[in-house]
């Protein structure tokens, strides 16, 4: 089952909610607040959510996006859920490493690997 929100593409299978980003440059300053609102609504509406953020369509990421991801991560955890990230391009992954957020966020090379760890 899939549905398209304004900036997110959601698919659900095997109890995992996978989110892909609709725009390659969506993770810039202008979009972050809207993205965060959408993701918070998604998370708050589902206790114990198993949420997978698939970054395969993301070419660019700002520091504001990193803050957004941390906020979502805390929100998911407070609802007894789990958040995983996958398919992050090498240049973007480097940003996570530089900021050491790869130590906090659960990052996997691809969606299949991430799903297997839920």
């Amino acid at each position: 089952m899939s549905q398209t929100a304004s900036r997110l593409k959601l698919t659900r299978s095997d109890g995992v909610c996978q989110v892909e980003f609709a725009d390659r440059k969506i993770l810039d300053e202008l979009c972050i607040a809207e993205l965060q609102d959408e993701l918070v609504r998604l998370v708050d509406g589902e206790a114990g959510v198993r949420l997978l953020l698939n970054f395969s369509n993301v070419d660019h990421l700002s520091s504001a996006a990193l803050g957004m991801l941390l906020t979502i991560n805390r929100r998911v955890q407070s609802g007894q859920g789990k958040l995983k990230l996958s398919d992050i391009k090498p240049q973007i992954l480097e940003v996570f490493k530089i900021t050491r957020l790869n130590k906090i966020l659960d990052i996997h090379p691809d969606a299949a690997t991430a799903r297997a760890t839920f």
């Binding site: 810039d28 700002s62 504001a64 240049q91």
Partner: protein, 147 residues
């Protein structure tokens, strides 16, 4: 003019004036990156310059001019095959970079913000500020020059 810019090396500076809003703040990106790509910088370098530029412009809008639409942001830049120099000045009171916490330290690691300066420093070859702290000067050397 200052330690990161050398007119003989970098050529004349081009200048853009940008409004204090996040939409207009993206204007310099397309102009500068077009020149950077034409000068043969690597894909990784272009990625880093783009990121540093966005972070610096966002800082000027948000922290420097505090979204005051009556204030402007001045962007000066020079792009050559050897390096790119970018200077971004806001009309705010300035700040002390050394007072910004290190967001990689455990006590600050999960803060929702404060990573922009770190990313600018990580991706640019040199970064400095004017005395007032309201102009950032960034330089990236081209590591893709043919040997």
């Amino acid at each position: 003019m200052h330690e990161l810019y050398d007119e003989k090396l970098d050529g004349p500076l081009r200048e853009l004036e940008v409004k204090t809003d996040l939409v207009d703040a993206k204007t310099p990106e397309s102009v500068i990156l077009a020149d950077v790509e034409r000068c043969g910088f690597s894909e990784d370098a272009v990625f880093g310059i783009k990121l540093a530029l966005e972070e610096a412009m966002t800082n000027a809008v948000r922290h420097g001019n505090r979204y005051d639409v009556h204030k402007k942001i001045k962007v000066r830049y020079a792009v050559t095959p050897k390096r790119v120099v970018i200077m971004i000045a806001d009309e705010g009171p300035g700040f002390l970079p050394e007072h910004v916490p290190d967001c990689t330290q455990p006590e600050f690691l999960e803060r929702p913000n404060g990573r922009g300066l770190m990313l600018i420093r990580a991706y640019m070859t040199h970064v400095s500020y004017n005395d007032a702290g309201n102009e950032v000067r960034m330089m990236k050397e081209n590591d893709n020059l043919p040997t």
